[in-house]
Symmetry: C2
Subunit: 295 residues, 2 copies
């Protein structure tokens, strides 16, 4: 494995591998913000399985953080990240500086409308513009056949799929399952921010999603309103939980279902999505399911 910091090194590294492996070798890209955990490891493994060449990028992208968000304090551990990427079989790790990615402040942004305004977009204006812009830069730099993204950031997956489709980009977005701790907490680099007590109470996120899905399947929650109420009721059992949203929306359109809409017999992808603050830490989690199949 080779770690590189400049665009030129990365491109020549990919070219060298392509010459070695021949034109059949596809390129898989795993874009990350570093502080890698088992969720990222699962993405790298999947990319390794699918492709001849695996590139991992590690870049804490300033333009996707809003004022007052945690750009400065976002956890970083380059040495550990490199060891993990190597252990999972990455060929190249790209660790650009901010100056490499933004030699001048970017005047160009890629903006996806509509689906970026809801859920996380409502409280993080400009966040998804920063994500689509940096991901398209990485796509242009690496020119991957496939890009791997975790479903924990489900709205990000929907937004990137929309971008790729609208702009005819030559890359397939591969969504990968959420990886959880044994007790259900979805893995996130931000989990390190949690105090022991917050960490314990944060289990209500996955629990509320599990209980809601079970209630839909058992017929005790029928409408979107029932599901929203159930999610909020369960989460509120944690006194430290401050709910930002607890939503039921279509996927990938992310249209909220009206409260009185019957969800339990829908034969389509339905997304339950949560954002909850514990102290200064904002956690998200979600569950995508087909109510008809769950019955």
């Amino acid at each position: 494995m080779k770690a590189v910091r400049t665009i030129e090194e990365l491109r020549s590294g990919i070219r060298a591998l392509q010459i070695n492996l021949g034109p059949e070798a596809t390129v898989g890209l795993v874009p990350t913000m570093g502080y890698l955990h088992e969720g990222h490891a699962s993405l790298i493994r999947r990319a390794r399985k699918d492709n001849g060449i695996v590139v991992v990028s590690i870049f804490v992208n300033p333009i996707q953080f809003g004022p007052g968000e945690d750009y400065e304090t976002y956890p970083r551990d380059e040495a550990r990240d490199l060891a993990l990427a190597e252990a999972e079989g990455a060929d190249l790790v790209f660790l650009p500086s901010v100056e490499t990615m933004y030699p001048q402040p970017t005047k160009t942004k890629i903006m996806v409308s509509d689906i970026t305004t809801r859920l996380c977009g409502a409280s993080r204006p400009g966040h998804f513009d920063g994500v689509t812009t940096v991901v398209s830069k990485l796509f242009n730099i690496v020119q991957p056949d496939k890009g791997y993204f975790g479903m924990k950031d489900v709205q990000q997956v929907a937004v990137l799929q929309q971008m790729v489709q609208d702009l005819n980009m030559n890359v397939e977005i591969v969504p990968c399952p959420i990886v959880r701790e044994e007790d259900g907490l979805a893995l996130s680099s931000r989990n390190v921010y949690l105090s022991e007590e917050e960490r314990r109470q944060a289990l209500v996120l996955s629990r509320s999603l599990r209980e809601a899905a079970a209630a839909v399947s058992e017929g005790t929650a029928v409408t979107a309103g029932d599901i929203r109420n159930l999610l909020k009721r369960v989460i509120s059992q944690s006194p430290l939980a401050d709910i930002e949203y607890a939503e039921v929306v279509s996927f990938p359109g992310l249209q909220p279902y009206p409260d009185d809409e019957e969800i339990s017999r829908k034969d389509e992808a339905v997304l339950m999505a949560l954002a909850v603050r514990f102290g200064r830490t904002r956690l998200i989690d979600n569950r995508l399911f087909n109510p008809k199949e769950a019955n």
Copy 2:
């Protein structure tokens, strides 16, 4: 030459040529809105000289027209366009329908800030977002090494160069010189809109630019204000001319020089740019020059 209407046909047409010509054959793209004239012909010839494979696209892009603009009436003549493209040696002409380019209304737009707000951007809000979005789609579909654009649309060239740089796109924007009628009128598909009298009076555009450059070179126009006054004075000699702007700005930054700024000794690219209406027809023209070298 082959004319194709779908993305699949285009991509397989390019692939076939690449297999035939080998990996050294670069791809040149000439994006147009059709109704081709000698200006477009010069772009195709330049692309032919530079590349193994030449693709011309013809697409009147609805999302770069504002309400009340001439999308519906924009001149079209497919048969003549195909004959011209063939005569100039194009390999492939891509004539997508609106449904092919926008199977759903696009939620994704590429937006360049700052330099899109001035000159034509001031009177055509959203125009350059439509241009950058469709050009990036064409770049993703064709994957050209070089894209050819006429300098008559000088702001478009600046905006596209900004986009390519900011997003790390793998394509070189090649600006090509303005082509003029013998009497100086810059070629434009929109010239067909002009009445005989408007056509005659429209010569003030190129004449004002010529006279202003001469005045700078002779030292009779020194400041940006002098140049603006001269441009407006000459254009106003045509009673049908309705000036939208007559500007002196830096290039490619498109920053307006203050009226009292001395231009005549600058050793940098200076752009004089005009937009003038004749009846219902909006014409643009410009001249890019280095005052120091012109002296």
